[in-house]
Symmetry: C2
């Protein structure tokens, strides 16, 4: 029975709070804080079985976060705020000696990076403080890391290749909208593609490599090679992997919108002088686009995310695909969220439960694949993200 501080009040936070309340054997009390307290209140008002308090906090400010922690005494901080805010929130946890979990790696505001180096640099300080940080406990990164560790533990002696495939075949009925924070979404796909091969990372121009992938329960969808942060941690922690890639689906209309927005400069993350103010075009674009949290209501279709691995088992070649399929409309029925928020929020709750129950423990900064996958895999289906596996056929 644990108290947690949840920071952030977007689409993912809504799922995390509801799922924590469903898991009241572990989560007994929540303080939900974000820059806009009214967004916290809107989420909290639906939760009846455990107390959910709300507060206003500027998560860029470590001292403000630390003050909340001192007042509330949580055992764990679940960070589902903006990735820019990972470091100040980690600083606050260090200062107050509280465990930390997030779902997306730190990224500086002025440049798209998606690297773990900044957060891994906290390892010794977390270790010395006797506390634990669990990084990237969403779906991808997160469940994909656990899938890979699970495959390694049960189905491979050696993994040669890893292809993470992420398909959203949903339709939200909007001309253009992003499924999670548009700033992050657009940063991710306007930077160079990058993959791991033969001991090094290789860059390619943005969206320049793509192929049709036939997703279970969805069908063939054009999928684009792009950089995703879990590749960095997975090849570090499973160094036998010779090649690791990440693929994501995009519709032609989405790509056309993106190309135009780049053409005119609206995806820039450097500030532009405008009428005496410094405006970051991508932030202004975000203000115009629909809030991802509002997309759920009329969302139809499914997501399919998984890991395809090749390698050897008992001296024979092995090909294995492990994946989840999630339905937008069913997610909305359950927690008033679309599947992209849902698939990210459930693992935040469950990763936290692994820490609070002591099934995953350590002192320092960790990624998901560093822990025994079995207790997580035993529970994740029950919380809404059942997994399937297929042997033999190759998707990518």
């Amino acid at each position: 029975m644990s108290k947690v501080l949840i920071i952030g009040a977007g689409g993912v936070s809504n799922v995390v709070v509801r799922k924590c309340a469903q898991n009241s054997a572990v989560y007994s009390e929540i303080l939900l804080a974000s820059r806009t307290k009214s967004k916290c209140d809107a989420i909290a008002q639906d939760i009846k079985n455990i107390p959910v308090h709300t507060a206003k906090v500027d998560a860029d400010n470590a001292a403000e976060v630390a003050a909340l922690i001192r007042d509330f005494h949580p055992e764990l901080v679940l960070n589902v705020a903006l990735p820019y805010q990972d470091l100040p929130i980690m600083d606050a946890c260090l200062a107050e000696g509280v465990n930390y979990l997030d779902a997306a790696n730190y990224e500086p505001k002025d440049k798209a990076h998606f690297e773990y180096s900044w957060q891994w640099a906290y390892h010794d300080r977390f270790k010395e403080a006797g506390i634990m940080a669990l990084l990237g406990s969403g779906f991808d990164p997160g469940v994909t890391n656990v899938y890979t560790a699970y495959a390694k533990k049960h189905h491979f002696d050696t993994i040669d290749t890893l292809d993470i495939v992420d398909c959203n075949a949903g339709n939200h009925g909007q001309a253009f909208a992003t499924n999670f924070n548009p700033e992050i979404n657009i940063r991710e796909i306007t930077q160079n593609g990058k993959f791991y091969k033969d001991g090094g990372f290789h860059e390619i121009p943005p969206m320049s490599e793509h192929k049709s992938v036939d997703y279970p329960q969805v069908g063939p969808r054009e999928s684009y090679l792009l950089w995703h942060e879990e590749l960095e941690s997975l090849v570090k922690h499973i160094p036998e992997i010779k090649q690791a890639r990440f693929w994501m689906t995009f519709g032609q209309e989405y790509l056309t919108h993106l190309r135009v927005l780049e053409d005119v400069g609206m995806t820039r993350i450097d500030p532009v002088e405008f009428q005496g103010h410094k405006i970051i075009p991508l932030e202004f674009l975000k203000a115009l686009l629909p809030e991802p949290g509002t997309l759920g209501q009329n969302y139809t279709g499914k997501t399919c995310i998984g890991c395809q691995l090749t390698g050897t088992k008992d001296g024979k070649p092995q090909t294995y695909f492990i994946y989840n399929v999630c339905d937008h409309a069913e997610c909305f029925k359950e927690v008033k969220a679309q599947a992209v928020s849902y698939t990210t929020g459930v693992p935040v709750m469950l990763g936290g439960a692994m820490m609070l129950s002591g099934k995953w423990s350590g002192k320092g900064v960790f990624n998901m694949e560093q822990f025994d996958p079995d207790p997580f895999m035993e529970e994740i289906g029950k919380w809404g993200l059942p997994w399937n596996e297929a042997f033999g056929s190759k998707l990518v």
Copy 2:
């Protein structure tokens, strides 16, 4: 030998100043004023044969404009600033008793209109003050109005239909840019299309009617029916016209960009709350796009703008097309401007010369078609915009 005040320092202004200097028999001294004095200085520094003074002015502020007029004593104010500023500049001319000319009709900031009503409402006051305003002395409106008056005078007893066709077949090598003020350009084409038929104006959804038009020296180009202000004045002053339409070419890429920018809300002209400031999305977009004045350097290809008329002459059916073809690269060689700025700027200079020489005179507010077209048509070719005519074949 006359002194003129030129307000505005964009691409058109650059052409007007250079053309006035070429016509030093009429224009002897210029005061060039705009919000940004450095832009005036950049234009003025190339002019050696007549004095060009520069000044800073906020053209939204009639009192500031009036103060400039009092200091400089011009005979005429050439307004090539933003259309929002037509009324304060007209107010200043009224206050100081100075003649006025512009190239685009007044438009309020908060709503796209393109109607003459606001400026026509100044007629009695200009008349009482004994001064003259010449509205819309660019190419379209402007030369197209004179073409129509010329056709009426020499080639028709009765005009039945008028189709103004405006083709820019140039290539500026940019992913997306507008050829004149992007705010105005985008306002023009995101509003409903409108045409005149059988005594009334009829609206259609934006860009919903289009056809291929085979332009002389250019070839076939898809052309879209849209509203253009000269239709309003031409059917008022030549009331026999039964149908009047305006067509403009757009490339598929341009339209795709426009559709996306509309989808995401970047063409909105209502203010959006953003980080404590009120930002008009279209104005912010304008700040990101290339300045139209900078497009000239690598611009290739031609423009073709003209009027196709049908009706009767001497009891027989008459079909007539009168047009100009202008080459972007040649314009740049002559005046460091692309053809869209050039075709607008030359008629500003010549319309002003018509007023200053007394060939066109009156007290009140006038459109170009209200004057004898012959002296204008005699000169316009010499200043860089020669015209061609064709009888018989129909383009539209």
